[in-house]
Amino acid sequence: MAETITKNGQEFDVVWKKPNLQKNDMHYCPGCAHGTLEKLLQEVIDEKGIQHQIIGVSPVGCAVFAYDYMNCDMQEAAHGRACALATGIKRVMPEHAVFTIQGDGDLASIGLAETLHACNRGESIIILFYNNAIYGMTGGQMAPTTLPGQITSSSPDGRDPKLSGMPLKVANIVKEFDGTCYVTRQAANNAVNARKLKKAIEKAVDNSLNNRGTSFIELVGNCPSGWKLTPVESYKWWEENMLKYYPLGDLKTEGGIK
């Protein structure tokens, strides 16, 4: 990325620009970190030069159209089944890196069995888990990760743990599985976090290429639309509520089935 340009006679390094791998404008709502996640992934693929050696799976959820944005081969999965598709792909294409992008409804509700079993088998795939504590795509219903008291369109009086249980901390659970080699919780609400997230993606891609086991990256994300907040309000809620309940950091950096 050591690109340099000259403007008004002065030399400038390009510090950041749209990744080459990005195709089409994204449809995400203003301020939604879904875009950030995909863009960072695009950068990693670009930089590693593995466009030909990576296959992605987009879920049913707001990331469903990821295949329109990522200039690499991708498959669209049924709701919750991204990890099953990824398993199928990885088993017949073992030299390729394989990733899924999945929302919290997709991964932690309907797809919990597929997710955990892929982790348990230690499929060498990259699971990118976009946790925004809500069902974005369908209009903001409660997710397994919705915070206690959080108002959603299917918990209009706030999530009541007595009726719906407490939020599921998926990363804490998958780290218990022998098949995972890397489990981390990241965010993209500021530049420091976004850079860390990118590093995490790099590591996960390496793991997949080298068949080291399952890499699980939880991106604690936002959903201004589902949260019924303006983007700027959502940043505050993100930091004050989401990051408190879902603290960032690596939960596991070694593992996988040897």
């Binding site: 340099t4 340009i5 403007k7 002065q10 030399e11 400038f12 390094d13 390009v14 510090v15 950041w16 620009k17 749209k18 990744p19 990005q22 404008d25 994204m26 995400y28 709502c29 203003p30 301020g31 939604c32 970190a33 879904h34 875009g35 950030t36 863009k39 993209a188 609400n189 500021n190 530049a191 976004a194 850079r195 990118k198 201004p224 983007p231 700027v232 940043y235």
Partner: protein, 73 residues
């Protein structure tokens, strides 16, 4: 005058979410008073203090910003 950095905003793609503004260490970014074709008040540079740190660009969900930093000589 030598500048330390600057950004380019693809204004038709900008969704006016203001995340870039919240992360800029130099308060460089403000908002247009007109909307773009999508109806958003897009990001603009409101001063010349940009240091080309790239924060705004890396966090922008829509890859709208290209950030430049004066090359080291």
């Amino acid at each position: 005058m030598e500048i330390k950095g600057y950004i380019e905003v693809d204004i038709q793609k900008c969704k006016g979410c203001q995340l870039c503004a919240t992360v800029c260490p130099k308060a460089v970014i403000g908002y247009s008073d007109k909307t773009n074709d999508k109806g958003y008040y897009y990001a603009i540079m409101v001063n010349e203090d940009c240091i080309g740190c790239g924060n705004c660009a890396i966090v922008c969900p829509d890859s709208v910003i290209t950030a430049y930093r004066a090359a080291k000589k």
